[in-house]
């Protein structure tokens, strides 16, 4: 059986991100690093090439931008931040660049019937073309697509074959020893036999239900797949980060491990039929769940560490009445 989920200790290439695999001569080199130190260094044919960087904070990362002088040679350049390096191309302004991103690893891409390029695990590749009208053909497994478009001199065209639209969880909070579901939303231009992802889970956490990942992904539409994850009983309270990479695109999620849940969270995830908490199910305040909560008035509410007071019940009823939580 081919694995749809690969658990890895870390997702490669996270610290240094370069905006493009190739930059035009008149275009600044742009990259992001986790912090403002150390300063990126540029090299050409093994020789350092001093540049002046413009630095600015961008979210949790630092964005670096440097415009190379026009006389700086074209070809392969290397940028290094500490021990991490990345090689990019510098090309003439008159050329045209086609970047293919979000493709399934191993997909084949060809332009104008040329030799096919096999895309690597990053799910991306690029073509340096002449300006004009081109046909891009991509195929993977049993699906194939052809796109025809015009590209102008100095234009960079991004062909997105897959979009990791979002990563969510059935509950943002979870109790030690309990399960929850990761919810992945993707869109793929090519039909896929399954959803193949790489995930980085906190130590001791394990994926216990990956059946949905083996369902085919149809081309074009937004697809949602769930992956059940179990938190170890010994997990301490705190925030844990989960990373998922799909076709070279990475999404992160912060999960909070708590010793007690909020009353509303417990009610919204209560499995009335089984009489237990189910954090793998979507949160929803249904009539049955509210009715169950009302039956506990004055008694301890499980997994919350509190008794259900009339005030708490009123809050739950108001949330249900307003439609919050489904």
């Amino acid at each position: 059986m081919i694995a749809a989920l690969v658990l890895v200790g870390a997702v490669a290439g996270g610290a240094l991100e370069v905006a493009h695999p190739a930059f035009f001569r008149s275009e600044p080199v742009v990259l992001w690093t986790p912090g403002a130190e150390p300063t990126p260094l540029l090299f050409f044919c093994g020789q350092p090439w001093p540049v002046r960087w413009t630095v600015e904070a961008e979210g949790e990362r630092v964005r670096w931008e440097a415009l190379l002088p026009p006389e700086a040679p074209l070809g392969a350049w290397v940028v290094c931040v500490g021990a991490e390096c990345f090689a990019f191309l510098r090309v003439e302004d008159g050329a045209s660049l086609v970047e293919v991103v979000g493709a399934p690893p191993g997909a084949h891409v060809a332009i104008d019937g040329g030799p096919p390029h096999t895309l690597g695990e990053r799910g991306s590749g690029f073509f340096l073309t002449r300006p004009g009208r081109h046909a891009l053909e991509a195929w993977h497994a049993c699906d194939r697509l052809v796109q025809v478009w015009e590209i102008a001199p100095g234009e960079r065209k991004t062909v997105r074959l897959g979009d990791f639209v979002g990563l969510g969880a059935s509950s943002p909070e979870v109790l030690p020893g309990r399960r929850f579901r990761l919810i992945l939303r993707v869109r793929s231009a090519l039909a896929l036999p399954r959803l193949e992802i790489q995930a980085v889970l906190p130590p001791g956490w394990r994926a216990v239900g990956e059946e949905e990942l083996f369902r085919p992904v149809p081309a074009g539409g937004l697809v949602e797949r769930r992956l059940e994850v179990e938190v170890p009983p010994e997990a301490a309270e705190g925030v844990y980060r989960i990373l998922v990479r799909w076709h070279g695109q990475e999404r992160g999620l912060a999960m909070r491990v708590v010793s007690a849940l909020s009353p509303l969270r417990v009610v919204g995830h209560w499995d009335v039929a089984r009489g237990d908490l189910d954090l793998t199910a979507p949160f929803a305040l249904t009539f049955e769940r509210v009715l169950w909560a009302a039956s506990l008035l004055g008694q301890p509410l499980p997994y919350t560490g509190v008794r259900l007071t009339p005030e708490l019940l009123r809050e739950i009823l108001e949330a249900w009445a307003s439609g919050a939580g489904g």
Binding site: F44, C45, G46, P73, C85, H117, T118
Partner: protein, 440 residues
């Protein structure tokens, strides 16, 4: 005919055949020169001599006294009206109007003797001097540049009359292939000085293109290629050669440059330092200003077929102050070298994606302009962890350089990734030759 002339003619006719005795001018009479009449071959110890200027009619009767074997008159000085009279000297003044006048000397001794001579030019050597105007002064110089100059000829023999005399046969001037004769007039009545004033300058002929050295005087001008410019002045046998030094110009690279097609190269002025004007000429491309020149070698195409080598002669013209210099650099455009990934088994160029587990070689074809035995190529992987490394190519047959077999594993390359190889030309050529190898 005057009485004096009648006497002289009579003496000449009557005593022509008796030449054992003679009267002579010693030394030959010159303008402003002292001479005497000398009688030889007579027994008398004294007598008289008559000196007659046929042009002015002046007649001097001079005593003859014995001095050893000869009789001699007192010194006679030929002077013009404009010449200063010598003070305190015991000389007889013979009035002349200029050079070439006929003098006749006669004596009754020896049964009548006579002689004739013409007044010769002033004694002295002619000297040619070049002077440059510095402020209000003229200073002697030995080389020409741009500025105001004069050639001063100090030539007493050319002072012939009491009027400003023309310079006999003129001043011959030769500049490059141009030769001409200038008519000069004495700068005073009796100075013996002749002056030719001119200006000189460098001029850039943008049509040829060439640096010219131009002489201008009155309404005339002569221009020659500056590198051939040498002014030669000649008066009679006297010659003066004057060099026209140019500003030493040094360019990096010195004389020749090989530029691969599609590449750029930089020509840079090294000397002189801090020039005022630098102009480069590239045939077919035009004029460019600045201490450096970037040459972009386009692909020369004729009927769609590359034509190599294409050669051109770039020139640089440099001015510092009024001085100019120039030099030229031979630029050859050669085929652009090609880097190839090749199959180590077949030697064929790899044109499509190559198995990531299979070895390859790197080959360089037409490596013109790369010195040395080995050639360094930088090889890496595009994207994260490029693991760039220097790979040596060594010459194989046919002027081709090749690497040893290399495995993509050296770069931890996987299918879907690209390896690159590139080589950078040494300065002054700014050129990078790159090639990509997609892996499958």
């Amino acid at each position: 005919m005057s009485k004096g002339v009648g006497l002289v003619v009579g003496l000449l006719v009557g005593f022509w055949g008796l030449q054992a005795a003679e009267i002579a001018f010693e030394p030959a009479p010159r303008l402003l020169g002292t001479f005497a009449l000398v009688v030889r071959g007579v027994t008398a110890d004294q007598g008289e001599a008559v000196l007659f200027n046929a042009a002015t009619g002046q007649r001097l009767v001079l005593p003859l006294e014995r001095h050893g074997p000869v009789l001699r008159t007192p010194p006679i000085l030929a002077v013009r009206p404009c010449d200063p009279r010598p003070a305190g000297q015991r000389v007889h003044l013979l009035e002349v109007t200029g050079v070439g006048e006929l003098l006749v000397a006669a004596t009754a001794l020896g049964q009548g003797l006579s002689a004739a001579a013409k007044v010769g030019p002033r004694e002295g050597r002619c000297e040619l001097l070049l002077e440059a105007k510095e402020g209000e002064e003229w200073k002697h110089v030995q080389a020409l540049g741009a500025g105001e100059y004069r050639v001063r000829l100090v030539c007493p023999p050319a002072d012939r009359t009491c009027q400003p005399d023309p310079l006999p046969r003129g001043l011959r001037v030769r500049l490059g292939q141009t030769e001409l004769t200038l008519d000069l007039l004495e700068d005073g009545n009796a100075t013996g000085h002749f002056v030719w004033t001119f200006s000189s300058a460098f001029a850039l002929d943008r049509e040829r293109p060439e640096l010219l050295f131009v002489l201008r005087w009155e309404d005339r001008a002569v221009a020659v290629a500056a590198e051939q410019a040498r002014l030669i002045l000649q008066v009679g046998e006297k010659e003066l050669g004057v060099p026209v030094p140019l500003l030493p110009v040094e360019v990096q690279p010195a004389t020749a440059l090989l530029v691969p097609a599609g590449c750029r190269a930089q020509l840079e002025l090294r000397q002189p330092a801090e020039p005022d004007e630098v102009l480069w000429w590239v045939p077919g491309r035009g004029w460019f200003a600045g201490v450096s020149l970037e040459l972009a070698a386009d692909e020369p195409l004729a009927l769609g077929v590359p034509r190599y080598p294409e050669a051109l002669l770039a020139k640089v013209f440099v001015r510092k102050g009024a001085a100019w210099g120039a030099t030229q650099i031979a630029v050859s455009i050669a085929p652009r070298p090609r880097l190839l990934f090749v199959d180590p088994k077949t030697g064929e160029e790899i044109r499509g994606p190559w198995p990531a587990a299979q070895e390859f070689r790197i080959r360089m074809v037409d490596p013109l302009g790369f010195p040395g035995e080995a050639l360094a190529v930088y090889v890496g992987k595009l994207g994260p962890q490029p693991l760039e490394r220097r790979v040596e190519l060594r010459p194989v047959e046919g002027g081709v350089y090749e690497s040893a077999p290399l495995s993509p594993r050296l770069w931890q390359a996987k299918p879907g990734e690209f390896l690159w190889a590139q080589v950078r030309y040494p300065a002054p050529v700014a050129c990078v030759v790159s090639v990509l190898l997609p892996l499958r």
